[in-house]
């Protein structure tokens, strides 16, 4: 959020992809002000994943 909303407090209200339960984040720049639930994790697939091996782009 640092780059999009510098210095502003940002609220993210999302859903868990597994159970659909609420995931709520409140943050300013890179500082997390609130995480609900505290056990929340983020998952990001890499754009350089192994699935690109043998990509048709280079064959």
């Amino acid at each position: 959020m640092r780059w999009l909303f510098p210095g502003q407090e940002v609220l993210v209200e999302s859903r868990c992809l597994d159970c659909g339960g609420s995931v709520r984040l409140r943050m300013r720049d890179e500082e997390m002000l609130e995480i609900d639930p505290e056990t929340a994790v983020g998952y990001m697939p890499s754009p350089f994943a192994a699935s690109r091996v043998g990509s048709a782009a280079f064959n």
């Binding site: 868990c16 992809l17 597994d18 159970c19 995931v23 997390m32 994790v41 983020g42 890499s46 994943a49």
Partner: protein
């Protein structure tokens, strides 16, 4: 980024993907990773085109959070470098406006031949192109066709071809093999297609003939490199 209420929820969702753990962080850690300068660049209009250049920054941001990117994918491929001979002199002779038009026609010729020989444009390199091919013979034939067609513009090109294993960085190729191809191209004369021994050995039986151009040191690349000029 996808959010989960806990790692247990994520594990359930990704139960079949063993590599998932490499990319899971508590949200506080992701917030720090996303504060890296490389993510600010995502707001720039040319971000996608330049993304491979930012890979190292992304890698460092992940490392600071205790994670690492997977090793880059590697593929066997053939690269062709082409470059206009004495381009600065030509540009000075004809003037900026006409030179721009010439370069546009030069680019059209190369892209047309790449399409014909099933090559893929990887990058522009000054007055030249870096292209990739699945077949070294097609790369050679493409280079020859480009050299002949450039005569219609009053231009001459030099070309270098090398086969090897390359790193796949998004839509780009990287690794030492790219540098080898560039160095080989730089040693080629006007209208010449210069290839590495790897390429010559790979196309045995294709009917392509070569002339020995001796062994060379390629700047920054270990060892001696036997090079060959394409004769026919």
């Amino acid at each position: 980024m996808n959010l989960f209420r806990s790692e247990e929820h994520l594990t359930r969702w990704l139960h079949h993907w063993h590599a998932a753990g490499d990319y899971v962080l508590p949200v506080e850690e992701w917030a720090k990773v996303f504060s890296a300068p490389t993510f600010q660049r995502r707001l720039e209009p040319d971000y996608l085109a330049r993304a491979p250049e930012y890979l190292e920054e992304y890698r460092r941001a992940l490392q600071a959070a205790g994670k690492s990117l997977p090793a880059p994918d590697r593929i066997l491929s053939t690269v062709l470098f082409t470059d206009v001979v004495e381009s600065t002199r030509h540009a000075a002779q004809v003037g900026d406006s006409e030179w721009r038009a010439l370069v546009q026609r030069h680019d059209d010729i190369i892209r047309g031949q790449l399409q014909h020989f099933a090559g893929r444009e990887i990058d522009r390199t000054g007055d030249g192109f870096l292209s990739a091919f699945a077949s070294p013979a097609r790369a050679i034939r493409c280079a020859q066709a480009i050299a002949v067609e450039m005569h219609s513009l009053g231009l001459r090109v030099r070309a270098g071809v090398h086969s090897g294993e390359f790193e796949v960085l998004g839509d780009h190729l990287g690794g030492i093999a790219v540098h080898i191809g560039a160095r080989i191209s730089a040693l080629a004369g006007p209208d010449e297609v210069l290839v590495s021994q790897t390429v010559r050995d790979a196309v045995v039986g294709s009917g392509i003939a070569f002339e020995d151009r001796g062994t060379h040191e390629l700047k920054g690349v270990p060892g001696q490199w036997q090079l060959y000029g394409v004769a026919s």
